[in-house]
Structures are given as C-alpha cells and as structure tokens.
C-alpha cells in the first residue's frame, strides 16, 4: 500500500516536472532576445552654446476648424530627408475630456516654412472599433520614430471615469506615408501596466532615445496617489518592460534627460502645494532610480519638459511662478541640478495660462510648443545666432 502510494507520488511529480518544462519551453521560445542595458542617444550632434539660443520665429499652430480647445502638445523631429521638419500632435475638441476630443496633428513644411493645416489623426470611435472595446476619452499624445523611422503614437485613452481611469494606448503608423494628409494610425495594444483593470497610467512627455534604436517612455500612475514609471521599447516598438521610478505619492509626468549614456535624470511635476520640481537619478540606464533633492525651481503642479542636446547641454521648459501657470520659461543647465534662465517663453498675468510645454531639436534649432490658454498651441523656434524675432531678456550667469 505504502509503495503503491509512493509510486503514485513519483508519477505525479514526474508529470508535474514535465508540465513545468513544457511551460518554460513555451515561454522562452516566444520571448524576444534579452535587450542590452539601455544607453541614451543625444538629440544634437553639434549642440549650441545654450546661452546663445535666441528666438528665431514664433506663432500658433493652425487648429482644426471645429476645435474650441487644445492642450498637451508633443513635438516629433522628422528624418533629415523628409519634406517636413516636425510633426506636432495635441488633443483638441470642445474642451478637455469632451466626448468629441480627438488627436490633432500638423507638420512644419520645410519648403514653405509654415505649419500645414491641422487635421485629426486619431478618433476614439475608430480606435474603439479596431480595439474591440470602447474608449471613453482621448488625451496626451506622445509620438516617436522607431529604428525603421515608423511612427508610433502613445495616447491616453480612458475607461469608465476620468483621467484616473486612463490607460496608455499604443498606436502604430498605418500605411507607408508620413505626410500629414495620409497620416493614419492603428492600435497596437493597450500597454499592460497594472493589475487593477490596467488603470491608471498616463503618458505626457517625450521618450528618451536609446542607441539601440529603442526608447524609454516616461509615464505615471495617478489613481489617488501619483508615481512615475519608465517603459522600455525596442527598436521595432515592442514593449520591453517597466520600472517603477519612485514610490513617492506626489510626483508625476517625468521628463527624462541624459547626462551620460547610462546616467540620466528624471525631472517631475510635483502635486504638493508650494512644490518644487522633483528629481530622480539613475546611473545604470534606468534599471534603478534614486530620489534626489528637489530643484530650486518652483513647480505649481504643472507639467515640465526637458531635453538633453548633449552631455552638459540640458534644457527645461517649466512654469516658474509658485501658484499659477502664467509664466513659462526655458532654462538651461550643465548638471541638471542648477538651472539658469535661457529664454522667457511666455509671461502673462493673473489667470493667463501657458502650460504643458514640449520640445524637439530639428534642423539645427530648438522647437518649443505649449498650450496657450487651453485654446490653441503656440510654438517658438530658438537657434544660436542672430535675432530674427523680438529680443527677449537674457539670463545672467554662465551656461554651456
């Protein structure tokens, strides 16, 4: 009796081992190659002296004719040989979170030196029909070109509830053309980021480009508490995992700046009253992050946008008044910790709002965009050299 029971045990154990081996083989067989440690790629091959950056041109990006409100723009530098230098994406509709909000786009035409008339490129009903389930609201587009120069768009797509019920929808360029009139996207997937019905992760800021052609997409969680995460993608745009950057409950919308290939900073919006821009640092290409002291720069619970043109050539667009979004500035830094004003982007008063900046480096110039009173998207171009637009005050101090 004992021996027969014992035999049964061994038989079951052998079968269990077989099942484990089968599961492991199936699992490993389907996985992509293990990626090399992430190494950042910088935005500009010959970066300018930051203090020499001067406004060259400015204006407003054309809006779709029926859009009363616009917010959360994102700029994407296009390949050198393309007829357009930049693609701009933002969400537009009757108001933020309105049912008719869509993702609008425009492009800077190199030959005419103008923005092309905007058109909508992502509609929630179309996305829902392709996904097979509903999308309640759209917002915060973030664009990226993969290693094959194929365009990807990450947008916030909400389920039941507001932004806290949001998910990150990964869209991929549908069709070969990147010209504005042809530009279309199809859903790749909703990124799997949380066990709780995959809520509540959002994107806002531009990715950090990697040398392997992939990127790190900064995102954040915001259901009740806020915390930042970093999402890695390979050069084909395949999701390669996530790293929680901090467990502090008041930081969101990280923007990533490379100091070296594996030494990066994340600067963060702070939801606390009287908050300052938060800082995280990684020395191992984003595998682990350490909290640093806040910057001296104030943050009125407003989005910031940063970019590293090259080591020690760091730029940050940020709201610089403690309790409002009436001042929007561009600052520069060598170490990412001490910042000096490079250019006052927009200075208003009282209830004026200039917010949600974005930036890109294209055609040897720094391009900035931001929300102007939640009604339109303003843009500016800065480059080293002579002034082509009205002079603006310069910062004191030294910059690279």
């Amino acid at each position: 009796m004992f021996f027969s029971q014992d035999r049964g045990l061994w038989r079951r154990a052998a079968l269990a081992l077989l099942l484990l081996a089968l599961a492991l083989l199936l699992d490993l067989w389907q996985r992509p190659a293990h990626p090399e440690p992430a190494q950042a790629r910088f935005g500009a091959e010959s970066p300018p002296v930051l203090a020499d950056l001067r406004p060259q041109d400015q204006g407003h990006i054309p809006m779709p004719s029926d859009a009363a409100a616009a917010h959360a723009s994102n700029l994407l530098a296009m390949p050198d040989g393309a007829p357009v230098a930049l693609s701009a994406f933002w969400f537009a509709g009757d108001r933020e979170s309105a049912p008719n909000v869509q993702i609008a786009a425009s492009q800077w035409d190199r030959s005419s030196g103008q923005w092309l008339p905007a058109r909508y490129v992502v509609n929630r009903h179309v996305m829902a029909s392709q996904l097979g389930f509903g999308v309640r609201r759209l917002g915060n587009p973030v664009a990226w070109l993969d290693g094959s120069k194929r365009m990807h768009l990450f947008v916030v797509a909400t389920g039941w509830g507001g932004w806290a019920a949001a998910r990150i929808l990964h869209l991929v360029q549908d069709g070969p053309s990147q010209q504005l009139q042809d530009l279309a996207f199809r859903p790749e997937r909703v990124l799997p980021l949380s066990w709780l019905w995959n809520t509540s992760f959002l994107v806002r800021n531009a990715p950090l480009a990697l040398q392997d052609g992939g990127m790190i997409l900064p995102a954040h969680f915001e259901l009740g508490i806020k915390y930042p995460v970093a999402l890695r993608f390979d050069k084909q745009g395949n999701f390669m995992g996530m790293v929680r950057m901090s467990r502090q409950g008041h930081w969101l919308q990280p923007t990533l700046l490379a100091q070296g290939t594996t030494h990066w900073l994340a600067l963060l919006r702070d939801t606390r009253p009287q908050g300052h821009i938060g800082v995280l640092q990684t020395q191992d290409g984003g595998a682990s992050w350490l909290e640093q002291d806040d910057l001296a720069l104030v943050n009125p619970d407003a989005a910031v946008a940063g970019m590293a043109l090259a080591p020690q050539h760091l730029l940050l667009a940020h709201n610089s008044s403690p309790g409002s979004r009436e001042l929007l500035d561009l600052s520069g830094s060598q170490d990412g910790l001490r910042w000096q004003l490079v250019h006052p982007m927009a200075h208003g008063q009282g209830a004026d709002e200039f917010s949600y900046p974005a930036m890109a480096w294209a055609d040897g110039a720094l391009w900035l965009s931001y929300t102007d009173h939640r009604k339109s998207i303003a843009w500016q171009r800065l480059a080293a050299g002579s002034l082509a637009a009205p002079a603006l005050p310069r910062a004191k101090g030294s910059l690279p």
């Binding site: 269990a16 484990l20 389930f133 389920g159 997937r189 709780l196 508490i225 995992g241």
Partner: protein
C-alpha cells in the same frame, strides 16, 4: 548559471499576445462570463431554456461594436483572466450539461464550493492574499514591483509549481477531475502557450473580479467549517 538565472528573472523581454488574439480573448472571455451569469440567474427555468439564455448572452457578447456588452465591459475592465474564463467554462458545463461531469461534482445538488478539501481551501486563500499583494503593488505600497515581475519567466514557473503542488501531494485523489485542482495550472499552461490576456502572468491567473469572488468563496468555506467545528 548566472546568465541562466538572469534570463529567468528578467522582466525586460516580455512576450505579448497579438492584437487579434487579445480581441478574440476579450470577446470570448466576456461571452463565457455572461453565459454563466445568465444560466445561474435563470436557474428556475427548464434546462433547455437555460441553455438558450446562455447561448443568446454568449452570442450577444461575441457581436462587434457598441451594441455588444463586451464593448463596454472591455472599456471598464478589459478581459477576464484565463482562470476566470476556465472557471466560467467549467461551471457553464456543469450547470447546462450536468451528466457530462457527474464524476467531478456532487450529485446531491450541494454546491461544489461547500466541499472544498483543505488543499483547495489553501489555494483559495493564496489567491486572495495574492490579490491583496497585487493591489498594494498597484498603489506602490510594496517595496518591489510585483506586477512587473509577472513579465519574467520565473514568475510563471514558480506559480505553476505552486499550483501543481497540491496535486503532486495527492490532494486531488478524492476528486481527481474537480475544477479547483486544475484551474490555475491549466490557466498558467494556456498563458505559456498564448500569452493571453496581456502577456503578464498575473493577469492570466487572477483578475480583480475573480479576486472579489474568491473572497466570498473563502468566507463561505470558513463559515461552514466554523459551524461544523462548533
């Protein structure tokens, strides 16, 4: 050895399901859930009519577009876990085709949940605790990223070993075909093959609705045991 261990622990090379497979999984998952709900709520009806109710609800969920319930359920909750889908499929079969599973389930009409052996009760408790851990992780209240760990091969391997353990130890001998012994291992094997529903093993094993249901089952079991013990 070190490289092998690193590969097993790696969270940065996940394999995710294809878009069409995710869409099919979502529709099929909610079709099974609705079929179970329909056949349970229509328990007073004769069996053929209960089958019809379940079929109509399942077909309704499989329809595309906003007129289908899975369009809205997917909006709010995405897809059910593979465990929930297998549970629903098993219960639908039990409720609507009772003769086929006579060996697996009590014939006296008593709920199978009322007779869970100690091993199954333990697994139920593990599932409930696991849900709490995943919930805490969602709100960054754990020092490690538990959800991200669900992208690693080791997570699948350890979970499968854990849920096969009661069967290996002989806990399934009394009722070898009972769903409770096979749900989690089968879901994990299906996950290994298909990566559904998201590519993360936690989503395949346990979803928040199933987790809430497990609370009810566990409390019911504990209450019955306490009553018997008293």
């Amino acid at each position: 050895m070190n490289a092998w261990l690193q590969r097993m622990l790696a969270q940065d090379a996940p394999s995710l399901p294809l878009a069409w497979a995710m869409q099919l999984d979502l529709s099929l998952g909610w079709a099974l859930v609705l079929a179970l709900l329909g056949s349970t709520l229509a328990w007073r009806l004769p069996l053929p009519q209960r089958r019809l109710v379940a079929l109509v609800l399942a077909v309704w969920a499989l329809l595309p577009g906003p007129l289908s319930p899975d369009y809205w359920l997917g909006l709010a909750f995405h897809a059910p876990s593979l465990t929930a889908m297998l549970l629903c499929a098993g219960l639908v079969q039990r409720l609507l085709f009772p003769a086929g599973l006579r060996r697996s389930w009590p014939r006296d009409g008593a709920s199978a949940a009322a007779r869970l052996p100690a091993g199954s009760l333990g697994l139920l408790a593990v599932g409930v605790l696991l849900g709490y851990a995943l919930l805490l992780d969602t709100f960054a209240l754990l020092p490690l990223s538990l959800y991200a760990w669900g992208f690693s091969p080791l997570a699948l391997l350890l979970l499968l070993a854990l849920f096969l353990l009661p069967w290996v130890a002989g806990a399934a001998r009394e009722r070898p075909h009972a769903l409770s012994h096979w749900l989690a291992p089968l879901a994990l094997l299906l996950f290994a093959a298909t990566r559904l529903p998201t590519g993360n093993v936690w989503d395949a094993l346990l979803d928040p609705w199933l987790w809430l249901l497990m609370h009810g089952l566990l409390l019911r079991q504990l209450w019955r045991r306490w009553q018997v013990g008293r």
